[in-house]
Amino acid sequence: MERVNSLWKRRFLRSSSIVVLAVAWEWGARMHFVSDFLLPSLSSVLIRLWDDVISGEILTGLGLTLLRTLAGFSMAAVAGIIIGVTIARFRAVRWFFDPIVSIGNPLPKIAFLPIFILWFGVFDWSKIAMVAFSAVFPVIVATWAATENVDKFMLWSAESLGCTRRQMLWQIILPASMPEVFTGLQIALPVSLIVVIICEMTMGGEGLGGTMMTSMRFADSPGVFSGIVAIAIVGSLVVKFMEIVRHRLLVWHQESNV
């Protein structure tokens, strides 16, 4: 019982700065240092959020935002891993992608938004494509580096135990690269969330980003703040979920045994 208590205590202490921030927000808003319009109180934002949850309004928006995020992210994950592996393995693929990746990786991908709207329209597909395009680079880079740098002696060991060149990729190279590939995915996921919100804000329409922009236009600041709180909660949950999946998948990895 003692241990359980101290565990909760530690968890509370770790997130206590959030509590401090929330109290400061509420207190600051109630003291009316600035107008309600500029900074509505946290409680009024939470009440608004709760109302939107009850009415289902925010859930449709949030659902749509999440759907776009995950659709784009999944495409980036699959494409990124395939491209990364083939770059590391085939000279022709490397010749093609190496310069593209070096230019594309640091590029602010959002610059392509007008083009993507032209190509894919203003609805879901342009946003999903934008997410996929932005999130694919960290996955490519991580997979490329990981699969290329698998320990030579591990490959030799497998070979001498009877592993053929065809089996090498699936049986040795991919499992050995898993931790680094997963790190690439963990970088790509928040990128996906950022890009989807930016796209929704610029293009408007359904989705959390669009709703927040509409609220702003109607001078509905609790609506804007409730959007921020909602995406903060959902974003941290999604990232946390990835961490849990990582721990499950990589039980063998050193980090899990510390």
């Binding site: 591990m154 001498s160 499992p175 990589l250 990895h253 045994n257």
Partner: protein
């Protein structure tokens, strides 16, 4: 030329023959370096030969060539009369840094080579269990390598290699990363294993005592380019056990003699840098 002299079924049996092996190391930048220069050596079946030399003398390279991991540019290497062209399960290898598959448990690591041999499942399981017990890792079957100490990891690597029952065992400074106490225990364990499952063994090391303690013969290599400088017989002469051997004047003399040979080369290697 060795084809005719040491053809299949020759007097060397499953022994190993290095014939005039020369190897040039070509770094991506910088000029090529002659690593091995005409190395000839014969290892008889079930003989334990240590390759001893200063670091950078090409002893590991010679072992990798024997393993088939790198192309042989000049000269020949035959095992049991057959020329080495690629890695194969007839030559099991143990590396210094264990090179275990970290995503597999101890048992899955040991099973890997057996699965490649397509033996029936029950037989594989039994053999893996036997080997895990042979290297004293019973109870750790389901542990991951990251949960084991260095000595235990190397025992897993040895079990994984022995599982496929290779004719020859290649060891690349296998105990170099271990602390002195663990290393001594591993020496005893390796000798015990070799008594139970005798194999031809080529053992690369720069530790003179280790070489004399374990090997039947020690081949001393020169510093770069690596050549065989001298081959010294290190078998205890009166048939005493290895554990007793270590306390005899004979052992000390051999260590002393070999140390002087290696010392000259180590000094030369340092001066060359």
């Amino acid at each position: 030329m060795n084809e005719t002299i040491f053809g299949a079924g020759s007097m060397t049996g499953n022994g190993i023959v290095f014939g005039q092996v020369t190897h040039t190391y070509r770094p991506q930048r910088g000029r090529p370096v002659l690593a091995l220069d005409g190395v000839s050596l014969e290892v008889k079946e079930r003989e334990f030969v240590a390759l001893l030399g200063p670091s950078g003398c090409g002893k590991s390279t010679l072992l990798y060539l024997l393993g088939g991991f790198m192309p042989i540019e000049s000269g020949t290497i035959t095992v049991g009369g057959k020329a080495v062209t690629a890695p194969g399960p007839d030559r099991g290898i143990v590396f210094q840094n264990y090179s275990l598959f970290p995503w597999k448990t101890v048992k899955q690591n040991v099973l890997y080579g057996l699965e490649k041999q397509r033996k029936p499942k029950a037989e594989r399981e039994q053999r893996a269990q036997e080997l895990i017990e042979l290297v004293h890792l019973k109870g750790f079957e389901d542990s991951y390598p990251s949960q084991l100490s260095g000595g235990m990891k190397q025992r897993v690597a040895i079990a994984r290699t022995l599982a496929i029952d290779p004719v020859t065992l290649l060891m690349d400074e296998p105990f170099g990363a271990l602390d002195a106490q663990t290393r001594t225990l591993m020496h005893e364990e390796l000798l015990a294993i070799m008594r139970r499952t005798p194999k031809t063994c080529v053992f690369v090391t720069h530790d003179v005592r280790e070489a004399v303690y374990l090997a039947d013969r020690v081949a001393v290599m020169t510093s770069r380019p690596g050549r065989i400088k001298e081959i010294v017989d290190t078998k205890p002469s009166n048939g005493i056990s290895r554990a007793d051997y270590i306390n005899t004047p004979e052992f000390t003399e051999k260590v002393d003699y070999l140390w002087n040979l290696v010392r000259d080369e180590a000094i030369r290697a340092q001066e060359a840098h």
